[in-house]
Symmetry: C2
Amino acid sequence: MTQMSKRTRPITPPTPKAEHRKAARPATPKHAAACCRPIDSLLNPELFRALCDPTRSSLVACIAKCGRGCSVSEVAECCSVDLSVVSRHLSQLADAGVLHSRKEGRTVFYAVRYSDLTKMLRDLADSIDECCPDGRAEGGCCVPR
Amino acid sequence: MTQMSKRTRPITPPTPKAEHRKAARPATPKHAAACCRPIDSLLNPELFRALCDPTRSSLVACIAKCGRGCSVSEVAECCSVDLSVVSRHLSQLADAGVLHSRKEGRTVFYAVRYSDLTKMLRDLADSIDECCPDGRAEGGCCVPR
DNA sequence: CCAATACTTGCACGATGACGCAAATGAGCA
DNA sequence: TGCTCATTTGCGTCATCGTGCAAGTATTGG
């Protein structure tokens, strides 16, 4: 247990869920100074975390292609996992900002947050571009040695 | 690299790696017919899987901001995990197409695949847009009930 | 009020992931 | 050849994740 010495592992007790995911993010590394900061916030693991599971991503694709809000049980037909699993995945995706949920009577409709999602992706792409467009970067912010 | 093929599990022999990740992907769901297919391939969990870990994403941010190729030990200074862990993360990111590696003598330089990465992100954003631009989608491909 | 419908939540289990340490491999250099 | 530096790999450990089943909650209809 002492294996992971100091960082991210308060020995045992509280286990605040996905703890190590929160911690390991050294604000400003030695190299790579203050330039191009937007990438730090845009390269948010939470979004990717939501989309990294194939079941979840297929659910997103299903709803996206659907174009309208889909109920949980409707979406569940898209894949072979239990309805409860789908329910959990959808709420997870909603938490991550990928989906939007709307309750109507006893059914819950999930829809893709098209513009938010595409904005996140494009902003990230932009921030990556900004970091180092072709020519630039030589003698950039990161000390060579 | 197949670094973690069947490793770390002496107990259960066959363990076909990340099995469930491969499987759960019902080609064509009942709803959401053949329209807007690109999203299926672009919403690739593998890319997100690579970026979903905060340590990994901070490594990517570090290298991105760096602008040039960074050696493993250099990058390791950006975060507080063991060098071996960084090495594994970097090769994982390279496998996912996020980074590019180049060996020079005994050092390995990793650099962000700027254009590939931004292309993937923008294409995905485009495919999401295509799926359902504002007005469209009513009475789309997914049967309402 | 009761039953049915549509989800959500609790729980247990097996698989996977991230990690550190130590040993191994590879590549220059004296 | 032997040594050192840079990185990778083997292995054990612990936490987290995805999943199914069963029970619980909310909402609508009779």
